[in-house]
């Protein structure tokens, strides 16, 4: 599939704010070690087998979008990426959950290098999509959950429109569908102790916003791309 993208030069992008992590010198040694061991722990605990279906790991800019079933989702997707890709990938997470407590905050900000989104206070001039785009610049990738919150029934819900605006503002980014299977049983909603069952993470072939594609059509196509990975 040809990319219908106009490559953006760094000059076109708004300047990235200087956050603690991800500056010129990169994350500190402690954070890197913590990241590596957490990735190993997450893989071990979730017993995740990783499948790339008609798709390959790549360091190009991507948005990984997945169904949302558990608090572990972002960590497990992040840890199933190869290390070179992982270092360039930033999960998008809810501020209200990840800023509670010192450990969570340190993990989110320093180790996973997450982009925290305020779900309760979304302003017009500070939309989450603009924030995400500003944070990733022209090198980083994103992990997003377009359903917005964790599914209660296990069914994959309707996608929120953020993914569409991401695709429209940056048509050069590859959108990679990801399906998470069984993680909701490892750590269901409302539980804090995990049961070490085996889960499966499937990455699918990238897709892009077609020229003139309507928002509802695109979101439906993206949702079906995730469901198709379920088999």
């Amino acid at each position: 599939m040809p990319k219908l993208a106009v490559m953006l030069s760094p000059a076109d992008m708004p300047p990235a704010p200087a956050t603690g992590a991800g500056t010129a010198e990169g994350p500190s040694l402690v954070c890197r070690a913590a990241g590596l061991s957490l990735a190993a722990l997450a893989r071990l605990l979730s017993g995740s087998s990783v499948r790339w279906i008609a798709s390959q790991p790549d360091t190009c800019q991507r948005v990984y979008f997945a169904n949302h079933t558990s608090h572990l989702d972002a960590i497990v997707i992040w840890s199933s990426l190869p290390q070179t890709v992982r270092e360039l990938t930033r999960p998008v997470a809810a501020k209200d959950y990840w800023q509670r407590g010192l450990v969570r905050r340190w993990l989110a900000e320093e180790v996973f290098n997450a982009i925290l989104i305020d779900r309760t206070d979304i302003k017009v001039h500070q939309s989450p999509v603009d924030l995400m785009l500003r944070e990733i610049g022209v090198t980083k990738s994103l992990i997003v959950f377009p359903e917005g919150s964790r599914s209660v029934t296990g069914e994959i819900g309707e996608f929120k429109s953020g993914l569409y605006y991401l695709a429209r503002k940056r048509p050069d980014i590859e959108l990679v569908p990801v399906h998470i299977d069984n993680l909701n049983r490892v750590l269901p909603r409302g539980e804090f102790l995990p049961v070490p069952l085996l889960s499966c993470i499937s990455f699918g072939p990238p897709l892009w916003l077609e020229r003139g594609e309507a928002k509802a059509d695109f979101l439906d196509r993206a949702r079906r791309a995730v469901i198709a990975l379920k088999e």
Binding site: S49, E191, V195
Partner: protein
């Protein structure tokens, strides 16, 4: 444990594996021999699994009894993981499952390691069962209650309780035998089970006419079962010198029973897999399905082999 019998047994098995590997590689490079390439491939993958199994077992034996118990504990843990993953559970089972994985399974293996037969023989079948029933009831979800608790209990008994009788073989006191003798006994059991599996396949291929249960397994036949039990009994009788307390006829009887139990284990796991609509339990060892696919026969054969050893060793219950 570096006595002559151990060396003979291990050298024999490694020699056979090496010969089989050479044949397998030869058949792979000469696909014109008229053999089914898929069967050759399966054969080679099985061999690879056996090499892995042998290496891990040898490492554990070398490290001693505790390491072997820990190794089997880890295998149980992984097998239970595969079992519960395939079994649909509800949210009300979550907390019960947490304790099953992180308390009951490790504690059971600690008891096995401490050689507390009096406690570990009832710990899972009685206390874990009662706990699971009560914990699921406390969680407040009564839908299909008996079905759900039975699933967890079946997983615990097959994957954890039964398998733990294999490392427990190391603790049976045998007159006039060193610890090397007990290690040989465990190796003997695993060898017989694997051999019975192969013989079942061969006899079913050669003579197989009547399927035991077509809906459950399309290649397990009565001829395969009888052939495998007889061949395994013969092998056991020939190798009786490797398994300390056994006379040749006792070894043959043990071989016969081990083959029957192994077959039963394969059928049982097959039935569960059919019900869930899958072929294998997991993907850890390539071509070997899951861990549970490899150990199902050992799980079923280990307890009866343990008790036969106890009986013939004249130890009775300690």
């Amino acid at each position: 444990m570096n006595d002559i019998r151990t060396i003979a047994l291990i050298a024999g098995v490694l020699g056979l594996l090496a010969i089989a590997t050479v044949i397998g590689q030869f058949l792979k490079r000469h696909p014109d021999r008229g053999l089914d390439p898929a069967a050759v491939n399966t054969f080679n993958l099985r061999l690879r699994g056996w090499w892995i199994m042998c290496t891990v077992l040898a490492a554990a034996f070398w490290l001693g009894t505790t390491a072997t118990v820990v190794l089997f504990g880890l295998v149980s843990f992984w097998a239970l993981r595969e079992f519960i993953t395939l079994t649909p559970t509800r949210k009300g089972d979550h907390r019960a499952l947490f304790w099953v994985f992180f308390l009951f399974t490790p504690l059971h293996y600690v008891l096995v390691g401490l050689n507390r037969y009096d406690v570990f023989s009832v710990f899972l079948p009685v206390y874990a069962t009662l706990f699971v029933l009560a914990r699921v009831a406390f969680a407040g979800d009564y839908k299909r209650f008996l079905e759900r608790t039975a699933k967890i209990q079946a997983g615990l008994v097959v994957c954890v309780y039964c398998l733990s009788f294999a490392p427990a073989l190391l603790q049976i006191p045998i007159k006039g035998a060193t610890i090397g003798g007990n290690f040989r006994l465990l190796f003997f059991l695993i060898l017989l089970v694997q051999f019975a599996d192969c013989m079942q396949y061969v006899w079913s291929r050669v003579l197989g006419r009547r399927l035991v249960a077509a809906a459950v397994s399309s290649n397990r036949t009565w001829e395969g079962l009888l052939g495998s039990a007889t061949s395994t009994a013969l092998l056991a009788a020939v190798l009786w010198w490797a398994a300390p307390p056994f006379e040749p006829w006792q070894a043959a009887l043990a071989g016969f029973v081990v083959a029957l139990m192994g077959f039963a284990g394969g059928m049982t796991m097959s039935a569960i897999k059919r019900d869930r609509g899958v072929k294998d339990y997991g993907t850890l060892v390539v071509g070997h399905g899951g861990v549970l696919d490899r150990i199902d026969s050992i799980c079923f054969a280990a307890p009866v082999f343990y008790h036969m050893t106890q009986l013939f060793a004249g130890a009775g219950s300690p």
